[in-house]
Symmetry: C2
């Protein structure tokens, strides 16, 4: 059977372009025992994939040039040689960017039943877990504290903001368009939202954080973080979840060092990788699902149609084209 896959054609220099990706026609291999043929339906594109397109040591091995790219995705079982899956089952997992994948059955997980499958890539998937563990385990929010979230209208940011409200925080989101700040205020009922492209972020932050910042959940890094650091309170927690402003940079990330603020306010700054929390994924997913069912947590996604648009959807992440989780629907 005919198949198609997306390979890394070359390592991006700066912002990735279409030329870094190559579409190749291939064949679907024959199924062996305990393997399952999955027809892909939703592909998650994520900023961290940019790191894997770079050479060198990181927390996951780099993609190789000329080899297929992979990310979290959802599909439908088209054929099964495993007793655990049958044709029509909806499954999720880490999948190569292909129309069809043949994978060992033990690499597949189910999706949360009764919910749009793509939510299992967002609020109920790794995205939601990232917000959950980063905020609760490192950020340790207490009622009445002020939480600032950068990249607040991005996949992880939207979930983080909402969990912050569930925990009784005053939540301030920083995002990059009027549509996004409007969404944060009107739809998600955040206490304030700052458009870093049009607002004076330093002044606005002071206005909307009159009691300083107790938790800063950072998805962005760079200038935006520089504006937040001077406002941190004593014993503030700074969660380094992502640094999307830096992922395409070829030069060292130069700016005001945060150490002086951490010293004087005895603050904590900590990076984390969601896979470190794997032993607690069940706990996190159960809690996220409960909040979701109760209507306390909304799923937000931006869907691009067509496998051929996967690179475009990925590239769009870096100009903030997505509100919530960016998903490609096949």
């Amino acid at each position: 059977m005919q198949n198609k896959e997306i390979r890394l054609a070359s390592r991006p220099k700066g912002l990735p372009t279409n030329e870094n990706f190559q579409f190749v026609d291939t064949e679907v291999p024959a199924l062996k025992e305990n393997e399952v043929l999955v027809r892909m339906t939703y592909i998650s594109v994520d900023p961290y994939l940019r790191g894997r397109m770079r050479e060198g040591k990181s927390y996951v091995p780099p993609f190789e040039i000329g080899k297929v790219i992979e990310s979290a995705a959802i599909g439908e079982v088209a054929e099964s040689h495993s007793p655990n899956f049958k044709r029509g089952d909806i499954v999720r997992g880490q999948f190569a960017w292909r129309l069809y994948n043949v994978v060992p059955a033990n690499q597949l997980m189910g999706v949360v039943p009764g919910v749009s499958p793509s939510a299992s890539l967002g609020v109920l998937g790794i995205t939601g877990l990232t917000a959950y563990f980063g905020l609760l385990d490192i950020g340790r929010p207490k009622e009445g504290e002020t939480l600032v979230v950068s990249g607040a209208a991005g996949a992880v940011g939207i979930v983080t903001c909402q969990i912050g409200k569930i925990k009784g925080c005053r939540v301030v989101g920083i995002a990059g368009s009027a549509e996004k700040t409007e969404y944060l205020k009107s739809e998600l009922r955040m206490d304030a939202a700052i458009n870093y492209k049009t607002d004076n972020i330093h002044e606005r932050l002071k206005e909307v954080c009159p009691h300083g910042v107790d938790i800063y959940f950072d998805n962005v890094g760079g200038d935006i973080s520089d504006a937040v650091m001077p406002l941190i309170n004593e014993r503030a927690r700074v969660v380094i979840c992502g640094l999307i402003s830096m992922y395409n940079a070829d030069k060292p990330d130069i700016g005001p060092r945060p150490q002086p603020y951490l010293l004087v306010r005895r603050g904590l700054m900590q990076g984390f990788i969601i896979t470190d929390y794997m032993p607690r994924f069940l706990e996190g997913t159960a809690q996220l699902a409960q909040w979701f069912m109760e209507g306390k947590l909304k799923h937000a996604e931006t869907i691009v149609e067509g496998f051929e648009n996967t690179p475009k959807a990925f590239i769009g992440l870096f100009s903030g084209e997505n509100l919530g989780k960016q998903i490609v629907k096949l």
Copy 2:
């Protein structure tokens, strides 16, 4: 009775100078009930005092212009209106920079008996406690881990290095003279010592930390820390104890931001203030005293003689004139 005190004449711009200090002749006031007259014998000068000479919010209120400066010090009771102290007792506490101080008895602490009194300002005082809690509570050293200490031959650095060895770490000290690195290697038996003024710190760090850096205890900040950050291992702990390279800076501290390293290595960076650990001071002092008595922990100090040299001794901290604790002997 005639007295003399040192006041802050003006706020330093950059490196403090003699002109920022003013010697004033005063009178010793009469003792009230429960007060004690203390003849000062040892004054501790510490880098953090520079922060108090600056205007604005910090973790301790700023010194006021025209008012006396204060720091940790030791003295001998010359007269007592308290049943708890008698003439000749050696006491320590936070004292104004004066020849004589009249203080309420309840502000005085004793010194560790049988030990040079000045050690109670260093290894057995706040200095030792700073190393103890910073390293053990935030650094959490495990046997076999690599600990890098900046300002390693300074007051806190020397104690930190030694506690690192007690805990079974490979310890690398960074200091600013051949005399200091020699002391760290020969006298304290550190695994390696780097002279940041003459060595290529990037290359030497790689050489002497072949397995990366698990704990970085930072007393210095700036360029030296920039050289350490790229070497941190997964789950590294960066203890922000001091940033002496920045204390005289009038401009924001610009340099490579550490966030990318913290993210990719899921590292922790945390500032602390020793007074946060006050409820555990007894525990810390007891342990430090035990190690000291067992000969596992050495006290190192640089003594300058004469009250009139107190400003000079303080200013000398910023060019690293001290090996170990800088003390003024009256």
